[in-house]
């Protein structure tokens, strides 16, 4: 990396940017603002939200010392997957009903294999953030636990 300018983090911290600087891939020299944000130089209007989110994460970590709010993410991902599955089933049923009601088409039942293909094709590709087991203590009793904000 001879001749390359130092990354934004080393520029701000006024230190030598080594060849294997671990921050260089994430904070290019042409975007000093990105590292400035991480380096506690948030604009005033964003500081309030940042503090609130930090408190939220800290509380989640107190409740669940192993997974913290990552457990909540895992739980919500599962919910999204289950809802998408139910939605795919419902949309497939609608398609079946429409096909059965269509007079021009031959009156034959849909093959179970074709139904399975329809189900799978309805799935949206959701980004999977992580694959943690959703055994978080944070959400085992969602109905009993009070809100983090009370």
């Amino acid at each position: 990396m001879g001749g390359n300018s130092p990354c934004a983090s080393c520029k701000l911290l006024r230190r030598r940017c080594a060849k294997d600087c671990i921050f260089a891939p994430y904070f290019p020299s042409d975007d000093p603002h990105k590292f400035a944000i991480v380096h506690k130089e948030l604009p005033i209007q964003e500081r309030c939200d940042a503090v609130s989110s930090l408190v939220y994460e800290a509380n989640a970590r107190v409740r669940d010392p192993v997974y913290g709010c990552v457990g909540a993410i895992s739980y919500l991902q599962n919910q999204v997957s289950q809802l998408q599955m139910q939605l795919a089933v419902a949309q497939t049923e609608i398609l079946c009903i429409q096909m059965q009601q269509e007079p021009a088409l031959p009156t034959q039942q849909i093959d179970p294999d074709e139904k399975s293909l329809l189900l799978h094709s309805n799935f949206n590709n959701l980004p999977q953030y992580l694959n943690f087991a959703s055994s978080s203590n944070v959400i085992q009793d969602p109905l009993k636990r009070e809100s983090l904000w009370t």
Partner: protein, 150 residues
């Protein structure tokens, strides 16, 4: 001589003892993992958090801390809570779509019933309508709703 220090001790430039709390979870071949958690949480805090946990939970805790730290670096204002908000929005959209789909199925079934009993019986026999009409998945939103989002 090949260094056997873990990533944490390499980063902190200290000797890696045999009972180093970091070494099982921050191997030397992944320096960025420790760099992220150290930047956000601090090595001392990470060590304290890991020591407070049973040994069999520490690996997952280290990984979840790494995920939180990386999320915070990528989104300095919202961190993991930004992902939680996104998933909540996905759940809301999926529930809305599911309600619409189920209403359409119910409407189709009602119309078929009005047109003639034989068509309705055919739909019931060929579809898993009863499964679709099951209770929607309950997602307790109040636990996850930070007041500054949505």
């Amino acid at each position: 001589m090949i260094s056997t220090r873990c990533a944490a001790c390499k980063y902190l430039r200290k000797r890696c003892d045999t009972d180093c709390i970091f070494s099982p979870y921050f191997p030397s071949n992944d320096p960025l993992k420790f760099a992220c958690v150290h930047k956000i949480f601090g090595a001392s805090n990470v060590g304290k958090m890991l020591k407070q946990l049973p040994v069999h939970h520490r690996a997952e805790a280290a990984n979840s801390l790494c995920f939180e730290a990386q999320s915070r670096i990528q989104d300095p204002v919202y961190g993991c809570t930004g992902i939680i908000s996104l998933l909540q929005q996905q759940i809301y959209n999926a529930q809305k779509q599911l309600a619409i789909a189920r209403a359409e199925i119910a409407l189709n079934a009602h119309q078929a019933h009005l047109q003639g009993g034989s068509q309705f019986q055919q739909i019931e026999a060929s579809s898993s309508f009863n499964n679709v009409a099951a209770e929607p998945l309950h997602v307790d939103q109040s636990f996850f709703d930070p007041p500054w989002l949505f």
